[in-house]
Structures are given as structure tokens and as C-alpha cells.
């Protein structure tokens, strides 16, 4: 009996986690966070001098946090169809992300070595590049699917 209760409790907890969404105003907060991080990236690149590596890392993280907030915020009229479309968009984004991680390093290597023999060495794409790509594709797919519904 106790084991059954434990399983039931675990199932409810998991269900809560699966259904977790931030309130819809977090979408706008995410947009503001992204806007601030882009502006600060330009400021860092053109107006600030010296070693800004830590600042650059903070801004990259801010950008990803902004995208994540937009991604997990509820829609204004959230219903079961919107939930289904969001799940579909995560599936597409995941598949696109895997293909991107597999193909892009070869493309970058090929392009950089096509015209000059001493081009870039082969290297994998960075975590943030991949995260930004996945979240970007998810948001794009979600809005496209919503527009086409």
C-alpha cells in the first residue's frame, strides 16, 4: 500500500513537472532580456576596451536565459492544441539541433579550407551556439505551427 502511494506521489510530481509553464508575461520578460543582452553585446564589442571575457560569458548566458523564458512561457490563449503544437516544435527543434551539431562542423571546416590551405582546424560547435540554435528553431517552429493551425 505504501509503495503504491509512493508511486502515485511520484507520478503526480512528474506530471506537474511535465505541465510546468511560466505565466504568459514571462514571454515579454524574455524578449526584454534578449534585447538587453544584444545591446550590451554591441556595447562590449564597440565601446568597451580591455579583456571582457567574463562579461561576454554573462551576456551569452543572459541571451540563452531570455530564449528559455520565451520558450517555456504560456501562450496568451493556452489550450490543448497550443500544448500539442509546442510539443511538436520541441521535437522538430531537437531533430534540427542534432543535425546541426553533426553537419555544421564539417561545413565550417570545408568553407574555411576551401579557398586557403591554412584554414581553421576541425572543431565541434560550442554549447551556446547549439542551445541558441535549438531554442531559436523551437520558437520559430512554434510560431509557424500556430500561424498555420
Amino acid at each position: 500500500m505504501e509503495k503504491q502511494n509512493f508511486i502515485e506521489c511520484e507520478r503526480k510530481g512528474l506530471q506537474k513537472l511535465i505541465n510546468f509553464r511560466l505565466p504568459s508575461y514571462f514571454y515579454k520578460i524574455g524578449m526584454v532580456v534578449i534585447g538587453i543582452s544584444i545591446v550590451m553585446m554591441f556595447v562590449r564589442a564597440f565601446a568597451l576596451d580591455g579583456d571582457q571575457e567574463v562579461f561576454k560569458e554573462v551576456l551569452r548566458r543572459l541571451f540563452v536565459i531570455g530564449l528559455l523564458l520565451m520558450s517555456i512561457a504560456k501562450d496568451k490563449d493556452e489550450d490543448e492544441m497550443v500544448i500539442k503544437l509546442r510539443m511538436q516544435s520541441y521535437t522538430y527543434a531537437f531533430i534540427a539541433g542534432v543535425l546541426y551539431a553533426l553537419i555544421i562542423p564539417f561545413v565550417e571546416y570545408g568553407v574555411s579550407n576551401a579557398f586557403k590551405p591554412e584554414g581553421e582546424a576541425f572543431h565541434d560547435i560550442g554549447d551556446f551556439q547549439l542551445l541558441i540554435f535549438i531554442l531559436g528553431v523551437q520558437l520559430m517552429c512554434f510560431h509557424t505551427l500556430k500561424r498555420m493551425r
Binding site: 489550450d79 490543448e80 492544441m81 500556430k146 493551425r149
Partner: protein
């Protein structure tokens, strides 16, 4: 075992007709069952198959059984 079930079956519905009988707009119906107008539009156009819960809510609004306005049909 399930040979009587066709593999390419799609769902058709007469929600548009039922809605017209009750003189409801898509927006009215959407508000009654707590979804967006676009969802009603997609269901009517057979682009989206609603959950059982939503189908039962529609059944309550129309005062009819679910299989009176939803039916399976073959697409070939």
C-alpha cells in the same frame, strides 16, 4: 485481430452544423468550452483531433452524444 479497422481512417465532424443549429459563432463556442477560436476552426477543418475531454465538453454544449457529431471515415 483488428482487421475490421482500416489503417487510413480519419475523423470527420459536423461541428459547424451543430454550431449553426445553436446559432453560435466559433468564438462563442470557443469561450463555452475554454479553448481559442483557432482551435475550433482547426477542429472544424479536420486539422486537429480534439482530446476526449474536449469532445465531451462539445457533447455537453450540443446536448448530443459524441459519436453523433464525430465519425470515422476512410481517406481513400
Amino acid at each position: 485481430m483488428f482487421s475490421h479497422l482500416k489503417t487510413h481512417e480519419i475523423m470527420e465532424n459536423t461541428i459547424k452544423v451543430e454550431r449553426a443549429i445553436l446559432s453560435l459563432t466559433q468564438d462563442d463556442l470557443a469561450k463555452k468550452i475554454g479553448v481559442s477560436r483557432q482551435t475550433i476552426n482547426s477542429i472544424e477543418a479536420n486539422r486537429y483531433v480534439p482530446s476526449t475531454v474536449l469532445a465531451l465538453k462539445l457533447s455537453q454544449v450540443f446536448g448530443k452524444h459524441v459519436n453523433e457529431f464525430f465519425k470515422l471515415s476512410s481517406d481513400d
